[in-house]
Structures are given as structure tokens and as C-alpha cells.
């Protein structure tokens, strides 16, 4: 995988910058304005606002997972469970303890992160495949705990959620909640981008390539592995908390093992180890899901023999096939595709290796 940059940087400072050209800065500013104005456009229905909220929350989780799995190489399939931890903790803190949402959300993030680091302690002993199995166990244990403590979590039936408030204003409607999600999304993306370009990100990258080599280079491998678990799972906790408060009822079936599978699929489809890759992968897979749910009833009208259950199953079939095809034909993901397209438009300024 190459680390491409078609913009030739003049100095180190420029090389490290997140936004390198004034064109990029301009595009980002226009994008932000569009994002903020989106709910105000008359043609944008609540359905679309809900879609953007779902996409943003998933992107937060996937960015965290990409730091943990794509960058640092510690596979985790418990991400949906850590999202559930964040969601339940923040709902319980706001509902039962009466804390405001703005306190519950950081609590959820820290708690999910700590729990993640606790399961990540096994990374001291095992790695690769076996670490993955530990996280699989973590998923089942957390799921069981949530379902079997009905006094706290409402068990199988779920728990009611109260909307967040800020100085007396309740974010009841979807359109007002949208702004909270967007703000957290932007913060999450910039924190991730910044973490990746500091010494912490470089240490994670080294561990992801080969942890023994990283150790030989003087990196405290266990410290950084635990930190990666903390950060990745804290992202999941934030996303879970946001997810919970975007709904009026929280039930455990939102956080299935399948969901965690799709998160992993998103980072593969998008590209391992990059923030842009996580966003691309999430948008592609979730977008396909929206298209199938949108087109399903329409096709069902034409062919009444097909039932709704078949559509749900066939969309999963298509998802899994797409991820398999990506693994076979483009294991570096959409981001690699995008870099190749971008390279082909640029005159060759420097020798760049494309693998």
C-alpha cells in the first residue's frame, strides 16, 4: 500500500498538514456549509436527516475501529458490543441518575474505552487470530450481560431514552439532534486525523506492520496497543451514546455480531488505516443498504411473489459478496482505487511506487 500524495510538499510542516492546498481548504469549507444547511433545505425530508445521522454515527465507530484494526493491526469484532456499552451507560446515566447528556457522553466514552482496554489486556499475551477470538468472546459476554441484567438495562425489551437538553432547550426533533451528531462527527474525524500524524499514530503504524520490529525500535508496544484499544473503543462508546439518544427506545438487537461484521467489512472496503477510507467504506456499504431498503418495496410491487424477508436476506447476501469481491480484487480498498485515479491525472513529479 502506498502513502500517496500528489501535492508535492515543500517542507516537513507542509508534509504533515491535514489540509495541504487552499483548494482543499475551500472544498472543506463548502462541505461544512452544506452540512450545516442540509436540514434547512425544503426538499430534505426527515427520512434523509435520519440517514445522514445514521451514516455519521457509523462513521465515528468505523474511524475508531480503523485506528484499532487498520492502523494498529489489533483485530476486534466486539465493536458493536462496545457501542452497546456506551449506549446503555449513557441512557442509564441520563435516565436513572438524572445526569445531563453532556456528562453522560464522556462517561460512556471513557467507560467503553476502559472496558475495551481491559479486554485488550489479552493483547499482552496473544495476537492476531487469537486476539480476534478474545474479542469475539468479549462480544458474547457483553451481550449476555446486557440481556441478563434487566433491572438496569431493561433486558430483551429495552429501555426508554430521554432527549438531550442544553440550557433548557431539549433536542427533541431529529433536525436539532442532527447538529449534535455533526459536531461530534467533525470532532471525531479531526481527533483521529491528528492522532494519526503524531508520534502515537506512527507508533501504531509500526506496531501494525510488525510488532516485534516496533519493539526492537524502542516503542513500548503494550502501552500503545492498550492505548489503541482505549481510543478505538472510546470512539465506539461515543457513537453508541449518540445512537441511543437519536432514538426514543433502546433495545439490544441493534448491536448484533452481524453489525460488528459490517464494521469490519467497511474498513476493508474503504481501506485499512486511513480516515478517508473509513468514510468511503461506510458510505458505500450503508448507501447500498439504503438503496435496497428503498428499492425493495418497489420491486416487491412488480413481483409480488418476493416477500420482505427475502429482500432483507438478499441485501445481506449482496453485502457479503461485495466484501468478498473487495478482498479478492482490491484488498487495499476504495481509497487505493481513488489514489490510483488521482495519480493518473497528475504529471509525474516524483517517483512513486504503486503496488
Amino acid at each position: 500500500m502506498l502513502l500517496p500524495d500528489t501535492v508535492a510538499a515543500g517542507n516537513y510542516r507542509q508534509e504533515l498538514a491535514i489540509l495541504k492546498t487552499s483548494f482543499q481548504k475551500g472544498m472543506l469549507a463548502i462541505f461544512f456549509v452544506l452540512l450545516i444547511l442540509l436540514p434547512q433545505f425544503p426538499f430534505v425530508s426527515d427520512y434523509w436527516v435520519r440517514i445522514v445521522i445514521n451514516f455519521s454515527i457509523t462513521i465515528i465507530t468505523v474511524v475508531g475501529l480503523n485506528i484499532l484494526t487498520g492502523l494498529c493491526g489489533q483485530g476486534s469484532i466486539a465493536q458493536a458490543a462496545f457501542m452497546a456499552v456506551g449506549a446503555y451507560l449513557s441512557v442509564i446515566l441520563t435516565g436513572k441518575c438524572g445526569l445531563p447528556f453532556w456528562v453522560a457522553l464522556p462517561c460512556a466514552a471513557v467507560f467503553a474505552g476502559t472496558l475495551g482496554a481491559f479486554f485488550g489486556l489479552s493483547a499482552l499475551k496473544v495476537r492476531g487470530l487469537y486476539l480476534f477470538l478474545v474479542t469475539l468472546g468479549a462480544h458474547f459476554i457483553i451481550e449476555y450481560a446486557i440481556i441478563h441484567i434487566p433491572g438496569l438495562t431493561g433486558g430483551q425489551t429495552g429501555i426508554a431514552v430521554s432527549p438531550p437538553k442544553l440550557i433548557g432547550y431539549a433536542f427533541k426533533s431529529l433536525r436539532s439532534y442532527y447538529y449534535i451528531v455533526i459536531i461530534f462527527l467533525i470532532i471525531a474525524i479531526f481527533v483521529a486525523k491528528n492522532l494519526i500524524r503524531t508520534h502515537i499514530g506512527r507508533a501504531w503504524m509500526a506496531i501494525g506492520n510488525k510488532d516485534m520490529v516496533a519493539k526492537a525500535m524502542g516503542i513500548n508496544v503494550y502501552h500503545y496497543k492498550l492505548l489503541a484499544f482505549f481510543v478505538g473503543c472510546a470512539y465506539a462508546g461515543v457513537a453508541g451514546s449518540l445512537w441511543a439518544h437519536s432514538k426514543s427506545w433502546l433495545a439490544p438487537e441493534d448491536f448484533s455480531l452481524m453489525q460488528a461484521c459490517w464494521f469490519l467489512g467497511m474498513i476493508i472496503v474503504g481501506g485499512l488505516g486511513t480516515v478517508l477510507g473509513s468514510i468511503l467504506g461506510t458510505v458505500l456499504l450503508l448507501g447500498l443498504g439504503e438503496i435496497t431498503t428503498y428499492a425493495g418495496p418497489a420491486i416487491g410491487k412488480v413481483f409480488p411473489a418476493l416477500s420482505m424477508g427475502i429482500f432483507a436476506a438478499s441485501s445481506q447476501l449482496v453485502y457479503s459478496l461485495i466484501i468478498l469481491l473487495f478482498l479478492v480484487f482490491e484488498p487495499d480498498g476504495l481509497i487505493h482505487l481513488w489514489y490510483r485515479v488521482r495519480m493518473s491525472f497528475k504529471p509525474a513529479t516524483r517517483d512513486k511506487e504503486i503496488t
Binding site: V126, Y130, C261, S320, L324, P331
Partner: protein
């Protein structure tokens, strides 16, 4: 006391089925280094294929069981050919991509089952007499008893196959070192394909037995995955380990379910798996492999 004994016996009989499924994991992991999560899907697939052959095609029960095993074997060969070999070629030893690929195959199979058969609960006609055996005050269901016997026979056949036949020798050689085996003239690709076939056929049989003990439904794929802790606890590269792990897991699941509460058994098995991974990552009977830098 009787209650404990009763659960122990049920657990051991269930453990034989888990041991067989764990053997499927071990056979594949030994020769290819892949942990095949799709086995859960194959278990459910085998159960449904057998049901379809009996009820929808109308074949004799025993004939359809044999046909199912052959179909599962072929399915394993196809799987090895289409995604797995190509992915292995592209990403090499990147374990993460391979895990995800087998996970996606699991999703693929479960959604395929929903697509073809609607994922509804089905039951087999009885293969075995339904009257339970009563011994003193213990009640033993004949279905469980017979499936334990079949699994024990199968395990014995596989142990002998690996120890005494030429195919077993080739498979052990491939498992030991792929490159040396290849340089000695072993058709490594064929051997790996056969391992995939064997492990899928084992899954199919496990699915039929589990379906006969309980009902044929989608949750068979989760039960099939529950053999994973068994394989880990016993040791991923040891066939006696798979048997031991299966028996341990079968009894713990039964006893936890009986004493702590239904549903805790599977969780307990994962807790034990994590504990074993932390203390002795290569399993009780497995051998530690030296790690190359």
C-alpha cells in the same frame, strides 16, 4: 447427585458432537493455518440440505445423509477454489483479511438459507428410536446416544486416517511445513482442497446430528461456532486436543446451563476460552510454535 450425573452424561454425549465439529476446525487449521468461521454456516447448511433432500425431494433418510455429506465435501472444494485461494494469493499471510473472508462466508450462507428455505424451523423424521433409555434413575435420550456413538466412530476413523494412511501422511506433512512438502513433490493445493472438503463434510454431519437432537433452524450456525472454544481449549493443532476440548466444553455447557441458568453455558465456554488463551494460548494439548520475526 443424580441431577449432576444426568447432566454429566448429557454433557459428554453433546461433547462428542462438539468434538467432531472441533475436529473440523483443527483439520483445516492444521493444514492451512486458517480458522474457518464459515463452519457455523456450513453446519446450518448441512442440516437444511439434508432436510430438503428428505422432505422436498423425498429420498430415503440414510441416502440423503450420505448425499448431504458428498454435497458438503464439494461445497468445501468450491469454497477453497473461489474466494479462499484467490485471497490467499492476493493478501498472502494477512490473517485479518482471511478471518473477515470466512466471516463473510458465514453471513453468505446464513442469508442463503433464509433466501432458499425461508429460515423456518424444520424437523427431521426420526432417524433413531425416540424411546429414551432408562438406566437406574438416569434417563438418556437415544438420539443423543446414537449421535455420540456416530461421532466417536468418526473421530476414531479420522485418528486412524491421519496416523496410518498415505493421505494422512501427506496432510501431516503439509501441515508441518508447506514449502518443504511442496519441494518433496506433494501436491499441496490438492491436499489443502481435500482438507477444506473434509472439514465441510464434518460440518454437514454435525449439522444433521444437531438438527436431529434439537430442530433444524438458523441458530445451528451459532451452535456450530460454539465448537470454536472447544478447538481452542484443546489446542488448534492437535486432534486429541479437539476431542478433549469437545468433551470439556460439552460438560461445562450442560452444567452451567443446568446450575446457573439457560444461555450461560455458551458464555461460560467463551470465558473458559479467554482464560485458556491468556494462560496457555496454544491450548491444553497443542504444541507451541516458535514465532518468526
Amino acid at each position: 447427585m443424580i441431577f449432576l450425573l444426568q447432566n454429566l452424561i448429557t454433557g459428554i454425549m453433546l461433547g462428542m458432537v462438539y468434538a467432531t465439529l472441533a475436529l473440523g476446525f483443527v483439520v483445516l487449521h492444521k493444514s492451512t493455518g486458517i480458522l474457518n468461521f464459515a463452519q457455523g454456516g456450513l453446519v446450518a447448511m448441512g442440516a437444511y440440505i439434508c432436510w430438503a433432500l428428505i422432505e422436498q425431494v423425498g429420498l430415503n433418510s440414510w441416502l440423503s445423509i450420505i448425499l448431504t455429506l458428498i454435497l458438503c465435501f464439494v461445497l468445501g472444494l468450491i469454497l477453497e477454489r473461489f474466494p479462499i485461494r484467490l485471497i490467499a494469493k492476493r493478501v498472502g499471510g494477512h490473517a485479518f483479511a482471511m478471518i473477515l473472508a470466512t466471516f463473510m462466508l458465514l453471513v453468505f450462507f446464513t442469508s442463503l438459507i433464509v433466501l432458499i428455505w425461508g429460515g423456518v424451523w424444520q424437523t427431521y423424521p426420526r432417524f433413531f428410536p425416540s424411546k429414551p433409555i432408562t438406566f437406574l434413575t438416569l434417563v438418556i435420550s437415544q438420539e443423543q446416544c446414537w449421535s455420540a456413538v456416530i461421532c466417536a466412530g468418526l473421530l476414531a476413523i479420522f485418528v486412524l486416517l491421519f496416523r496410518y494412511t498415505k493421505l494422512g501422511l501427506l496432510m501431516r506433512g503439509t501441515a508441518n511445513d508447506l514449502h518443504i512438502a511442496r519441494s518433496l513433490g506433494v501436491r499441496v493445493n490438492t491436499i489443502i482442497a481435500i482438507s477444506w472438503g473434509i472439514s465441510s463434510a464434518i460440518c454437514g454431519l454435525g449439522g444433521i446430528l444437531l438438527g436431529a437432537i434439537t430442530v433444524v433452524n438458523l441458530s445451528l450456525s451459532e451452535i456450530g461456532l460454539a465448537a470454536l472454544p472447544a478447538a481452542i481449549v484443546g489446542g488448534m493443532n492437535s486432534i486429541p486436543g479437539a476431542i478433549l476440548g469437545g468433551l470439556i466444553m460439552g460438560t461445562t455447557i450442560c452444567i452451567f446451563d443446568a446450575y446457573i441458568g439457560s444461555g450461560f453455558g455458551i458464555i461460560g465456554s467463551y470465558v473458559i476460552m479467554i482464560a485458556v488463551l491468556l494462560i496457555r494460548p496454544w491450548g491444553i494439548l497443542g504444541s507451541e510454535k516458535t514465532q518468526r520475526v
